[in-house]
Symmetry: C2
Subunit: 293 residues, 2 copies
């Protein structure tokens, strides 16, 4: 299957699963579900679940088994965006071309919808029961998810983003490794673990995801300077406005493009061991390199 078709089909599948995991219930807390669904079901790139699926497909093809984990990663990502956009944090009004969650539902509901989406990520995996997945394997994947999203992972990265005044590239990369890198790495690790990867293969995929995560962030920084707001679906030059260190402000545009290419190459090189089986992950890396938003 060609990459575009693979991505379209899997994105559709992910969206349909997310929709099922989070039905609009006719309960007293219906507005909570509306708020959760507003952010979760918006038109995101679904990079994390796609990476989980592609990593799993290195080994097996029945993606039904990997879906709850792939969707849990997207729920954690969605909750982090809701909370990051809050007035007390980045105070952003636009996200994926739409008003941010707190603009539509108010600050209290946005905080609760974020909390509920993090919680729902764990519920989704815990409520999924299939005899093909051993309980030990499920626990191992949950541990990867929980540690990637916690205080030594994504949340820790947001703390650094908010409170540390960075000066150097190594400080900048520390933030990105935690804030976006940890979850991207766990996306690949979880898919491969469910597929049955060896220890050595997990290490290679971790290398791949680590470089991919950094490349992803450099591309974000470049787009923040070069894209227009309509294309990007969120405010441009936001890093500059918020006085945040970026690859572009640190290295300039040309050097950032070079580093983006270098990290993408390194990511792709980590896949050599897998031969043609690694093509899908390779294609994802190149798609992220070329993306316009």
């Amino acid at each position: 299957m060609d990459f575009k078709k693979w991505m379209t089909e899997n994105t559709k599948n992910i969206d349909s699963q997310l929709n099922q995991y989070l039905p609009e219930k006719n309960a007293k807390q219906i507005d909570l579900y509306k708020s959760m669904r507003y952010s979760l079901l918006s038109s995101g790139k679904r990079i994390r679940p796609l990476l989980t699926i592609a990593s799993y497909e290195l080994y097996r093809q029945d993606t039904r088994l990997v879906m709850p984990f792939a969707c849990a990663l997207e729920m954690v990502h969605a909750y982090s965006l809701i909370h990051d956009d809050l007035p007390a944090m980045d105070n952003d009004a636009l996200r994926r071309g739409k008003p941010t969650n707190h603009i539509v539902f108010g600050e209290a509901m946005a905080i609760l919808a974020g909390d509920a989406l993090l919680n729902k990520a764990f519920e989704t995996v815990l409520n999924f029961s299939d005899s093909s997945i051993a309980p030990e394997q499920k626990l191992q994947c949950m541990q990867l998810l929980a540690s990637a999203s916690g205080s030594e992972g994504m949340i820790g990265g947001q703390v650094v983003d908010m409170f540390v005044n960075e000066k150097t590239q190594s400080e900048l990369e520390y933030r990105h490794r935690l804030k976006t890198g940890a979850l991207i790495i766990s996306a690949c690790q979880i898919g491969a673990t469910l597929g049955g990867a060896t220890h050595h293969e997990l290490n290679l995929l971790t290398d791949f995801a680590q470089y991919l995560g950094l490349a992803f962030q450099i591309k974000d920084d470049i787009l923040d300077c070069t894209a227009n707001e309509e294309e990007l679906g969120k405010p441009i030059n936001s890093d500059q406005k918020n006085d945040k260190l970026t690859y572009v402000s640190l290295l300039g545009l040309e050097e950032s493009e070079n580093l983006l290419n270098e990290y993408t190459k390194k990511a792709v090189r980590s896949l050599h061991y897998f031969g043609s089986r690694g093509n899908r992950l390779n294609e994802i890396a190149l798609y992220l390199l070329e993306r316009k938003k």
Copy 2:
């Protein structure tokens, strides 16, 4: 062991475990740990972990095994208090006799510390490994925790608290069943599940916890009207100020005291099956009935 001694020893044990699960790390995100520890290690009643331990002790005595779950429940409780106190929610400045988390650490850090504590609850249980606990049992207990703290449990209750204008006792009890009841029920269920309870026994303990949770809430409403702020460690008459329906505003003080006694009796009656083994849970119910804060 007499009840006072049991409670003192176990509270000490819980606090020492919480302290170990959440060390003050020397990392870039050190202020996050300070903020998390500030709320988690403050002088709470530790009701939820004590219920988990007492429910487990119906069956077994080596509480080491139940500790990570008991502490996870306290982490979920602590995170919910931090987020409930936020300016966008109840906007409270005092909690357990100290300034609330956002007053000390600012709103952004308080949101992140809450997120991190919820995440940490799952991490704590997932990182605990002991051959005496079967993976299936661990998953079952995590499922109880996740569903009690989620959109159909505690978070759902906070949504009702914030957004539903209640008029009747049944609406009031719907809120309490979700907001405080669900977590209290899961505290007992998790302890008993780890101990090896039968289905029938789990049902009895669920009844016990359900009545206990409602009694707990009535007592809270009564104390909000009758205690002084110094004793209570948080603002008094806060429900009246926030125009929230309470048992006292709905039924009056005397009728609320009657209902408190009735629910406590029903809770205690649910324990009859356990005979003298149920004494500890019985004592907890009476302690909550008599408490001054």
